[in-house]
């Protein structure tokens, strides 16, 4: 059974559905712990006061925020916990919005909301909300406080379960307008040739076909292999970065690409 990261209630109008939050994705990375090489024993991190050369117990640690002028303002965990703009155990649905209006770059982490308790009342309220959201192109918008930080969230439906996604706030996205977009539009002939290349290199999306090469390399290293031979190493082969394809050669290069894609 997955670990519950949070439990509370989802509030829709005056209906409260008790729910539990679990992550919709699992971390499958190969994890490492720091060890002391000579004796192989685990490393412990100890917190020391930088002034006094002594270890500091957890209760004596506060949070310091540095102002622009360098002044350090210290807050206790209690003060921070108290600075909650709203209930910390309730996700209030504030609005319903069209999913297509949300910039995908705003989405952060995916979770699933599970009903807490299997009484008929809980299940029915949960199911009602899931059915109503699922039959629309909309998602619910609300907020949740996780680990002392408030998140804007959407609640949609995935495989019949309520799916919550935390979001970034709008000021956490950089404007695309600042980025160099390459300038002039290509000619119709070049665009058509490029579209032909894209089409010739097209495939259905099948995520299972792509290996997590990073994980595989580390797993092999842990298993004792010095070097992973059958995982393609990007170090080899392309030490030389190719030059930009210039506008003048573009048609020839696109034709060559198309031939290659069709042959391959």
């Amino acid at each position: 059974m997955p670990r519950y990261l949070w439990s509370g209630s989802l509030s829709f109008g005056l209906i409260n559905v008790p729910i539990r939050l679990v992550s919709a994705v699992q971390d499958r990375d190969v994890h490492f712990r720091q060890l002391h090489e000579p004796d192989g024993s685990p490393i412990e991190t100890r917190r020391y006061c930088s002034e006094e050369e002594k270890e500091v117990p957890f209760e004596e640690i506060g949070r310091g925020y540095e102002l622009d002028d360098g002044t350090l303002v210290t807050l206790t965990d209690e003060e921070l916990d108290a600075a909650a703009p709203r209930k910390s155990r309730t996700i209030d649905i504030e609005a319903f919005v069209d999913r297509s209006e949300i910039d995908p770059l705003l989405f952060d982490h995916p979770y699933v909301l599970l009903p807490a308790g299997e009484t008929d009342g809980v299940m029915r309220a949960y199911r009602l909300l899931a059915e109503v959201i699922d039959s629309s192109d909309r998602v619910a918008l609300g907020r949740v406080v996780l680990r002392a930080k408030e998140h804007l969230v959407t609640v949609g439906v995935r495989d019949g379960l309520l799916a919550l996604t935390t979001m970034r706030f709008h000021d956490e996205l950089r404007p695309a307008a600042d980025v160099d977009n390459g300038g002039r539009k290509p000619s119709a002939a070049k665009l058509k040739a490029a579209v032909d290349v894209v089409k010739a290199m097209s495939a259905d999306w099948d995520p299972g076909r792509y290996e997590d090469r990073h994980r595989r390399r580390l797993e092999d290293a842990v298993a004792g292999a010095d070097r992973t031979e059958d995982v393609e190493d990007p170090k080899s082969g392309d030490a030389e970065t190719p030059d930009a394809t210039g506008a003048r050669d573009m048609m020839d290069v696109l034709k060559a690409s198309l031939d290659k894609a069709r042959a391959g």
């Binding site: 005056l14 499958r28 309730t90 804007l152 950089r174 970065t241």
Partner: protein, 295 residues
């Protein structure tokens, strides 16, 4: 022009497109330093050997992957470096897939790609071809010593690189479904209708800038007040009760909605008659305890 994190080259077919990688998403979370409350001095993290009770210099640290309880497969920093890819700066597009078919649950981090040196024409050509075909280029991408799968798509007039989670990172939702899910009585037509009316009443256009980080603002205010030596009054918030008669609650919600008009922040003083009658607290909500220890 924003600073770039990396210069790389996208290769599709025989075409090379130099790009600059820029941050697209930046956390504005308030970050704190650990402070010793007694004297206000900063806290340092020091590495100690658990066995010998002595501080360990960085050179003596190895990485261990736990293979069994307390048993580690040890990798030296050299072995670890050998297992991580070098600085490949080429992103070879293997294929182009329909951009809408990529499940957003796989989205990890996103970066803006800007046109790199001499790339103007090739960059714009790739962008326009992706926009026209509604496809994304899939390839592997090396950043910070780690190879990741990435999708390159056209968005907002530029190219965006989205790193993707492995397919097996997604939790199998079937394993999470509560057993009682299918046995529960389906909502009645009346309940559905009222719920739909309520979602309709709460429907609004999504304007990202309307949703600010109120928690961040409140913490910054608290910091300012403390810096000025003022006392700070923090709002008291109350938790709500668990659910009740579904139809009655829906009816009350709709009525509540009609009376209060636009955008209502659920206030703790408003409670449906049904809820007041039959007070019940969710067993999982930890009762009234709203204090959650910060991380």
């Amino acid at each position: 022009m924003p600073r770039s994190l990396l210069n790389a080259t996208i290769v599709f077919g025989e075409v090379s497109v130099p790009v600059k990688l820029h941050t697209a998403q930046t956390s504005q979370s308030i970050s704190f330093k650990e402070i010793h409350l007694e004297d206000g001095a900063k806290i340092e993290h020091r590495r100690f050997c658990a066995e010998e009770d002595k501080e360990v210099p960085y050179e003596e640290i190895a990485k261990g992957h736990e293979v069994a309880d307390g048993k580690y497969a040890v990798l030296t920093q050299e072995q670890l470096a050998a297992a991580t890819p070098g600085g490949s700066k080429t992103i070879a597009v293997e294929e182009f897939v329909p951009v809408d078919d990529i499940d957003p649950i796989l989205h990890d981090r996103a970066y803006h790609l800007g046109a790199g040196k001499d790339a103007g024409a090739a960059y714009r050509l790739l962008h326009d071809a992706l926009a026209k075909t509604k496809r994304a280029g899939i390839g592997y991408f090396v950043f910070h010593d780690r190879e990741r799968l990435a999708a390159i798509r056209a968005q907002d007039g530029i190219l965006v690189l989205q790193t993707l989670r492995a397919a097996d990172a997604v939790v199998d939702l079937d394993t999470l479904k509560p057993d009682a899910a299918d046995d529960a009585r389906a909502p009645t037509a009346k309940e559905r209708k009222m719920a739909e009316q309520l979602t309709e009443a709460l429907h609004e256009p999504f304007v990202a800038a309307d949703h600010t980080d109120e928690h961040r603002e409140l913490v910054l205010k608290l910091i300012e007040a403390k810096a000025a030596g003022e006392d700070v009054e923090l709002p008291e918030v109350e938790e709500q009760d668990a659910p009740d008669d579904l139809a009655a609650a829906l009816e009350a919600s709709l009525a509540d909605r009609e009376h209060s008009g636009r955008r209502r922040r659920a206030s703790p003083t408003k409670k449906p008659a049904a809820a007041a009658k039959k007070r019940r607290r969710s067993p999982s909500s930890g009762g009234k305890a709203r204090k959650s220890k910060g991380s």
